[in-house]
């Protein structure tokens, strides 16, 4: 009798576990990955308008976003601050126009986004999962919408983690939190209102009108504006980062010159599939360095140092140790840069 009971228990266990192998269990990483892929897809293709709250440390901001989906590279978005001094960013037509009070900067010009970004999540989800663990965390509600919560946990201390609340209908990120090494939120974003739209008019993505003050020295924000920094890929460089933190790889190396006439700046980008770290190298020519040592720019960590008369500035949404590690392992090898 006892034996039969045991036998039944084993059968029941087997019955319970077998189908779950066939079905995808909610707790498997595949499913969290599936949600991530849905999120990336919807973030690119959907038209929506919404208002969200952005919390960074002690600061709270309200912003409005208008997003127009499209082919890769064809997405458009407008981001407007609703509190404090007016600020605005419009991403459209391979351009990023930032309307920041007193300064209107246009980023990158025509080639922006055309070059494929090799380490992005949709291309290499496997790479992401080497350094981050994906987890399903259950359900919640954001902006009145049902949300699926997923966690992206770093597998080591070189990177930050995320928690994401995704719209159960389409995977759109309704809320996100960037978490530090201790799991404490560094920055949070949460929609309070989100509306999907069948169509968004092109006028919504017109470049912001420059404020008179900003327009005075360098009027206009059109494509021929002299303020567009021109970037060119760098194939030969004297700069080497000898010791990259595990999982980070170089994804871009450009040289850009501000039209203001400053000397060219080299910009090297490292990524691990999720976090992005930029290294800027600029000859000082007697100027005092911008930054020496650690600093923070909101949720981004920065580290500055001077190597061979150049300002080395490393910036990224990664732990201070990661940014410092990259900054301090940069070496100048002029002979290596010669063809």
């Amino acid at each position: 009798m006892k034996r039969r009971l045991l036998y039944c228990a084993v059968l029941a266990l087997a019955a319970g576990s077998l189908p779950s192998i066939g079905r995808t269990q909610p707790a498997t990483p595949e499913n969290a990955r599936h949600w991530l892929e849905r999120m990336l897809d919807s973030a690119q293709t959907l038209n929506y308008e919404g208002t969200f709250i952005y919390v960074q440390g002690p600061h709270v901001e309200a912003m409005r976003i208008i997003h127009g989906g499209g082919e890769p590279g064809g997405e458009r978005q407008r981001l407007v601050s609703l509190s404090g001094p007016p600020r605005e960013i419009v991403v459209a037509n391979n351009q990023v126009v930032c309307l920041l009070p007193k300064q209107q900067a246009t980023f990158a010009g025509r080639d922006y986004r055309r070059s494929p970004f090799p380490l992005s999540i949709p291309r290499e989800p496997g790479r992401l999962e080497r350094h981050y663990e994906l987890q399903m965390l259950g359900e919640d509600r954001v902006a009145g919408l049902d949300a699926q919560v997923i966690a992206i946990k770093p597998r080591d201390a070189w990177r930050f983690g995320y928690r994401l609340w995704l719209d159960r209908r389409n995977g759109l990120a309704l809320r996100s939190a960037l978490l530090d090494e201790q799991g404490q939120p560094l920055e949070q974003l949460m929609f309070t209102d989100l509306q999907l739209k069948p169509h968004i008019d092109d006028t919504a993505f017109a470049a912001p009108a420059p404020v008179p003050e900003a327009a005075a020295p360098n009027a206009g924000a059109n494509a021929s504006d002299a303020r567009i920094p021109t970037g060119e890929p760098v194939t030969q460089s004297a700069w080497r980062v000898e010791q990259l933190p595990e999982g980070f790889a170089e994804v871009s190396h450009n040289r850009f010159t501000e039209a203001s006439g400053r000397h060219p700046t080299e910009h090297i980008v490292f990524a691990d599939g999720l976090a992005t770290i930029s290294v800027f190298l600029e000859r000082l020519e007697g100027d005092s360095p911008l930054l020496q040592g650690s600093s923070q720019l909101g949720s981004m960590n920065a580290f500055g140092t001077v190597v061979n008369g150049h300002q080395v500035l490393v910036v990224g949404e990664a732990p201070a140790a990661t940014v410092q590690h990259i900054a301090t392992s940069i070496q100048y090898r002029p002979e290596a840069g010669k063809p």
Partner: protein
């Protein structure tokens, strides 16, 4: 007890005996905070109340045997006159806290906003530590925990050429976030960071 009496007395504040008992309680340090506030306002307004307050203090001193050798009943009045005759203190120029962001008038707000957005605090360490040595093999990565993080100790004094410095930082940040938006888990986040960046208070 004080709370109860306050409830009863407040509507009768003009009643002299009530004010007198409040003054008496004030002298004996037995008055509730809310009542102290009321009675102090009354003291600053009414000469009669002030005289009464002085007399009560005198009585209190007599009872407690703390009477001075000589009495100067006009002492408080002279102090008051001296204070009234003094010029108003000038506003002292004080460094604004880091979070301070005026919103009155766009021109003013604008000049501050750029600093708020891209005013990477120009901090300097006293001595830049030498780069920590790292293992030479790529397989053996240093653990982040073992890295010395420098503490930023000193804010640089006002920069003579602030605008170019900020322009450079702006271009750095715009460039970084432009690339970050292409690989970020949430493509809008890097732009949100640019729009929403504000310096840490007290840093």
């Amino acid at each position: 007890m004080a709370d109860n009496t306050a409830e009863l007395r407040a509507p009768l504040a003009d009643d002299v005996p009530v004010a007198a008992s409040q003054l008496s309680a004030l002298v004996d340090d037995e008055l509730a905070d809310r009542e102290i506030d009321l009675i102090l306002r009354r003291l600053s307004r009414e000469g009669d109340a002030r005289d009464r307050w002085e007399r009560y203090h005198l009585i209190s001193d007599v009872i407690q045997g703390q009477l001075p050798a000589a009495l100067d009943t006009e002492f408080a009045a002279r102090i008051r006159q001296a204070i009234e005759a003094e010029p108003l203190p000038q506003a002292v120029a004080r460094p604004l806290p880091a979070w301070y962001k005026p919103v009155t008038g766009f021109g003013l707000a604008a000049s501050v906003a750029l600093i708020a957005l891209f005013g990477l605090k120009l901090n300097q360490t006293d001595v830049l530590q030498p780069a920590p040595p790292f293992a030479a093999t790529t397989a053996n990565f240093a653990t982040p925990a073992s890295l010395p993080i420098q503490t930023v100790t000193l804010a640089r004094p006002v920069h003579s050429a602030r605008e170019p410095v900020e322009a450079r930082l702006t271009s750095y940040l715009v460039n970084h976030n432009g690339y970050a938006s292409m690989s970020s888990v949430n493509g809008m986040l890097p732009y949100v960071r640019m729009v929403g960046y504000q310096p840490q208070p007290g840093r």
